[in-house]
């Protein structure tokens, strides 16, 4: 099952290369592939039994001399992330419908990207995890540098260098971890390491924890390692922005939960005060910088920085020292990964639609577009309300859970972060006012409203946003099961 989930997009990529002679054909193949992939991930989600722990395990020796295995498996933490990637894949392909240059290569790399991210979420071997982590860089780099806009080569290279430096720390951390384990216990098996608690007991645990932390902090991103993100987002094509915000950042959050929290609970508790500070900085700093942005994409990119601060706050909530540790914060962080993926994915889809029509992302040039593009305006407003955490959208349960958990550990940090929802209301509604409302501007009279394909891209994200908002239990029960073993590491 899990191998199939990785192989289907890869095979699809090959298929696109082999058969996608015309743009229409390439699009059709890519869409079929991501739909099959969505069905597969949906089936995995449906088939997964939260009570079952690690499931769908596939194990084969890869480099026996080093104990490296081809080891796949999922638990309650990874299953929703896999589903998220499945959903985002469909949105990404649909929002690339109008790509005109080298269509075949574009979809090829997009599918490879999806496969690599799938690999990250289902790998249970650290080396395999690292390989998929690195594999994702190649399609990203090519997609931004070849199909992007503006300073695309600069942004692609910046993305590459930042992630590479982070990866270096991760690779070093993996190796140090492996060789620091007692003889006979050396393994890259994340399930075994999570179960036996040996990782946290090694002498250089703090060093290894720090290595992973830096790698994931670059990806999430955490201040001050975030500056690659606005550039990458701004210059990337729509589909890549969708994938970047939707799942690539989530790899960082997933890593923090899976490895930093799962393998090194003691180190995480020590680092929790620092993380709480960084969370507040991320939330408020990100939100404040958003306010000055005049590029719609940059605006959404910085709002991502702000919203990823909530993930960090949820993570820091395990630092509660009063014997009042609650799992709600960690659950909120995990849910935030999923919901932010959906909501910000949707925002980027909509921003992409606006850019594609108006050929500008410069906010002061816009206004009154609700007249010409009512459907796009509604989608933008709904996504904006999701981003500002309105109840009824998926953003609300995630954020309130993070705040509840964070408040029990660091009340000041949670209170300051919670002010982020006021700032979010400020920048999202201000953006809506400046782009969609106001008098009709004649310059935009010719703009076409969303097509059926566009509505597909919007709908595939909007529906989960509202469904999770109304009934978050669909996800939280799964996350809860996946995070329970991790919480036991903190005595929860």
């Amino acid at each position: 099952m899990l191998t199939a989930i990785i192989v289907v997009p890869l095979a699809g990529a090959a298929l696109v290369l082999a058969l996608g002679r015309t743009a229409a054909l390439a699009r059709a193949i890519a869409l079929s592939v991501v739909l099959v992939e969505l069905a597969l991930t949906g089936a995995l989600f449906a088939a997964y039994d939260p009570a079952g722990g690690y499931s769908f395990i596939e194990r084969a020796d890869w480099i026996p001399a080093l104990g490296v295995q081809y080891l796949l498996g999922v638990d309650g933490l990874s299953v929703p992330m896999v589903l998220l990637n499945g959903i985002l894949g469909v949105a990404a392909v649909l929002s690339s419908w109008t790509v005109k240059e080298r269509v075949r290569e574009f979809f090829l790399w997009l599918l490879v990207l999806q496969a690599a991210v799938m690999g990250v979420f289902v790998s249970m071997d650290l080396i395999l995890f690292f390989v998929f982590w690195e594999l994702e860089l190649l399609p990203m780099f090519l997609l931004i540098s070849m199909w992007g806009t503006g300073r695309r080569e600069y942004s692609a290279m910046k993305f590459l260098v930042f992630t590479f430096l982070g990866s270096a720390f991760m690779f070093a951390a993996i190796l140090v971890l492996y060789f620091s384990l007692p003889d006979g216990e050396r393994t890259f098996d994340m399930m075994a390491l999570a179960g036996n608690g040996l990782a946290g007991a090694i002498a250089p645990a703090a060093l290894v924890f720090g290595g992973f932390l830096i790698a994931f902090a670059v990806k999430l991103p955490i201040f001050p390692l975030h500056t690659w993100l606005p550039d990458a987002h701004t210059d990337a094509p729509t589909a890549v922005s969708v994938m970047l915000a939707g799942v690539l950042l989530k790899m960082g959050g997933y890593g923090l939960l899976r490895i930093n929290a799962g393998l090194f609970p003691g180190e995480l508790v020590s680092a929790a005060p620092l993380l709480a500070v960084l969370a507040v900085v991320n939330v408020l700093y990100g939100a404040v910088v958003v306010m000055r942005q005049t590029d719609l994409k940059r605006m959404v990119a910085y709002s991502s920085v702000s919203h990823m601060g909530f993930v960090v706050l949820g993570l820091a909530s395990v630092g509660a020292t009063t014997g009042q540790l609650s799992g709600v914060g960690l659950n909120g962080a995990a849910l935030q990964l999923f919901t932010h993926g959906i909501i910000t994915g949707l925002l980027f889809v909509v921003v992409g639609l606006i850019y594609e029509r108006a050929h500008t992302r410069h906010i002061p040039d816009m206004g009154g577009m609700a007249k010409q593009m009512p459907v796009i305006a509604v989608a933008f407003l709904l996504a904006g309300f999701g981003a500002l955490g309105l109840p009824g959208t998926a953003g609300f349960p995630a954020e309130i859970m993070v705040f509840l958990g964070g408040f029990t550990a660091y009340a000041w940090a949670a209170a300051l972060s919670a002010f982020g929802i006021v700032l979010a209301a400020g920048y999202m509604l201000w953006a809506a006012q400046r782009t969609m409302f106001g008098p009709r501007i004649e310059r935009w009279d010719g703009l076409r409203d969303a097509t059926a394909v566009d509505m597909g891209a919007i709908g595939v994200l909007l529906v989960p946003m509202l469904v999770i908002g109304v009934y978050p239990r669909l996800l939280t029960d799964v996350f809860d099961a996946g995070l329970a073993p991790i919480l036991r590491g903190f005595g929860g």
Partner: protein, 672 residues
């Protein structure tokens, strides 16, 4: 007894009706746009019928009626401190039973009025009923959310609906989104109420922090009955902080000082919206919330005093600002803020059933007055009273109905407003609540002062609108005073009474504005009417009628009316040529105490946007990104190299991979 499904139906019917109304936005169903109004009224009417059933059941029951509590979201083991559970359920007690009847009933009347008022599409595109589907969908959904708020069992559940009514308020204030003023007002309303909601959310977090105390009692820390039952057992500091947080939320929603600035701007929405949302229901949600949580507030003198002071201050300041406003809707908006201040005042002095009594009577007469403003606009197409006058000549029905609402608002016996306002003042004077006596007496004085100002500005409104010479309506408004694209919004003056579909709901409200005081809370046995029926039903203590206070407040009101009449004779009601000290006061009030200037120009624009935000953005570009200048240099040169390579970028990537591996190995060796 009442079935659970019937109570949920109160929320579900308007929700479903709204969805049906919105369906008429689909291109294929456009011809059915007109029907969306009827669908919405049917949905809300159904909710009203169910509400009456529910009210009847509540009248027959002793206290709250229990319904199953459902789990909405759980983390871990909810019975331990490590877990979390959010439950949902219905809290049907006298308070919520009264509120659902009020909300659904008023909503139904306002929607009926809207059938006439919203008929002409604002921008003239798409035919006469083009605005119907969106309007009636929003109104139905607003009603559903408001009813959900009132019936919520769990405080987080209440918060969910609390935010949703804010959403629909935003959408309806900005209904004419192509008007910049409307778009700005909608945003302002949402953000300022959200500042209050930030406090509300902190209260929720604080409750969870103290979950152990609730879990020890076997209770969920967010269920309202559990909080109220546990209130006497909680440390006073907990009761205080949670109460103050909730108060912040209530102040935002109910536009209490200093979060009052959004409500006058909210008048940019269609007038029936102002009537339903920004007079009768949503803005009263803050009062409802404090009343709902009253036993918790009662544990903290600080919290109660804060409520009373906020209310008293707001009552006076808003009334003063109402005196100088020239826009009929703005006058009514300031009046609403002021009257909500009365309700907070009543809550703060411990008389929460009295606050609800005033909430009900105010809903009737203020809703009526806003509909009057709408009816007037229907004829003269402006809200500026300086261009009205003499309208009673051709709007006799509107005139009489307005007069009834005005007298009720001024608190003239025996109209509804007299009884409820009098009880508020009597409660403040008696100072027998848990707040401090000094504060109670102080806010009593503020309340009395507001009585005088209220009588003056309401008389001024009636006289400037309906009496004297007609000053030309929209046709006389100079171009520079018009909203730039108002030409779309307005037609020309037509001297005619509004149609029956508009005056009929007003007449119903007028009857209520007359009788509600006596009918709900009679002082002496009157036929079948129970004495102090509402107060008893809500479960509060009753107070004897105080003829001295009633007499004094009536005298103040009559003085205010007299002053207005005198100025009307001299033709100085427009307050344009005031003598020296008064003109300064006038400017201060007309500029709304410079609060908008402080918030928007000084804080947001100068300090934040051109200060903090600019500096942070600069720092992000120059400092944070600058420290990775080396990386940037590599990036730029790498990019140039890429551009020069004709064989493609894969090789660069290969080089980069190679370099990366070397970096990793070096690091690894270093750490070994």
């Amino acid at each position: 007894m009442v079935a659970e499904g019937a109570v949920w139906g109160i929320i579900a019917l308007p929700l479903a009706a709204g969805a049906l109304a919105a369906a008429a936005l689909l291109p294929a169903l456009r011809p059915l746009a007109r029907a969306s109004g009827y669908v919405a009224i049917l949905g809300v009417g159904g909710a009203f019928a169910l509400s009456l059933l529910v009210l009847d059941a509540a009248l027959g029951a002793d206290g709250a009626i229990g319904f199953p509590v459902r789990s909405w979201l759980t983390v871990g083991d909810p019975t331990s401190a490590g877990g979390f559970e959010m439950t949902v359920g219905l809290l049907l007690d006298p308070l919520s039973a009264v509120m659902v009847a009020l909300v659904s009933g008023v909503s139904m009347l306002v929607m009926l009025f809207s059938l006439g008022y919203m008929r002409k599409a604002v921008d003239g595109e798409g035919g006469a009923w083009a605005d119907y589907p969106r309007y009636f969908a929003y109104m139905s959904w607003f009603t559903a959310a408001m009813l959900g708020l009132v019936l919520a069992l769990n405080l987080i559940q209440l918060f969910v609906f609390w935010e949703l009514v804010g959403l629909f308020s935003y959408l309806l204030i900005g209904f004419w989104y192509h008007r910049p003023a409307a778009a700005a007002a909608a945003k302002k309303a949402f953000i300022i109420t959200r500042i209050g909601d930030f406090g509300f959310m902190l209260a929720l977090l604080y409750l969870y922090l103290h979950r152990a105390e609730f879990l020890a009692l076997g209770e969920n820390p967010f269920e309202i009955p559990a909080i109220l039952a546990a209130a006497p057992l909680l440390p006073v500091s907990v009761a205080m902080w949670v109460s103050l947080g909730i108060l912040a939320g209530a102040m935002g929603k109910s536009a209490q000082f200093p979060l009052n600035t959004w409500l006058p701007d909210a008048m940019e929405g269609p007038t029936p919206v102002s009537s339903l949302i920004h007079a009768a229901t949503m803005v009263a949600a803050g009062v409802f919330l404090v009343a709902r949580m009253f036993p918790l507030f009662a544990e903290s003198t600080v919290a109660l005093n804060a409520v009373a002071i906020v209310g008293g201050t707001t009552a006076v300041l808003a009334a003063a600002m109402g005196v100088v406003a020239n826009d009929i809707k703005r006058v009514l908006a300031f009046s609403t803020v002021s009257q909500l201040g009365y309700m907070f005042l009543a809550l703060g002095v411990g008389a929460w059933p009295v606050a609800i009594f005033h909430l009900l009577t105010h809903a009737f007469f203020k809703c009526l007055l806003f509909l009057s403003a709408g009816s007037v606009h229907h004829s003269v197409h402006t809200f500026d009273m300086r261009y009205m006058g003499g309208l009673r000549a051709w709007m006799p029905v509107t005139y009489v109905l307005t007069l009834i609402g005005a007298l009720s608002l001024m608190g003239i016996a025996p109209l509804a407003g007299f009884w409820s306002k009098d009880e508020v003042l009597a409660a403040a004077w008696s100072a027998d609540g848990a707040g401090s006596v000094v504060v109670s007496r102080l806010v009593f004085v503020l309340g009395m002062a507001a009585v005088f100002m209220t009588a003056f500005y309401v008389s001024r409104l009636v006289l400037m609108t309906f009496h004297g010479e007609f000053r030309g309506g929209i046709d006389a408004v100079p171009d520079e005073e018009r909203i730039p694209d108002e030409a779309h919004l307005v037609g020309h003056v037509h001297r005619a009474e509004s149609p029956l579909v508009m005056t009929l709901p007003m007449a119903v409200l007028a009857v209520l504005a007359i009788i509600a005081g006596v009918a709900l809370n009679a002082l002496t046995p009157l036929g079948p009417l129970p004495v102090h029926g509402l107060t008893h039903f809500l479960g509060g203590a009753t107070r004897a009628f105080d003829p001295v206070i009633a007499g004094a407040s009536t005298l103040l009101a009559l003085t205010g009316i007299g002053l207005a009449l005198g100025m009307h004779r001299r033709g100085s009601l427009a307050l344009t040529d005031l003598p020296q000290p008064w003109s300064v006061v006038h400017r201060f009030l007309a500029r709304r105490l410079y609060m908008d200037h402080l918030y928007e120009t000084l804080i947001v624009r100068r300090v934040l946007y051109r200060g903090l935000f600019l500096a942070t953005d600069w720092a992000d570009r120059r400092l944070v990104d600058g420290t990775v200048d080396v990386v940037g240099w590599v990036g730029r040169n790498g990019g140039r190299a890429v551009a020069q390579l004709q064989t493609g970028q894969v090789q660069v990537y290969g080089v980069a991979v190679f370099m990366g591996v070397i970096v990793m190995l070096v690091l690894f060796m270093f750490q070994r």
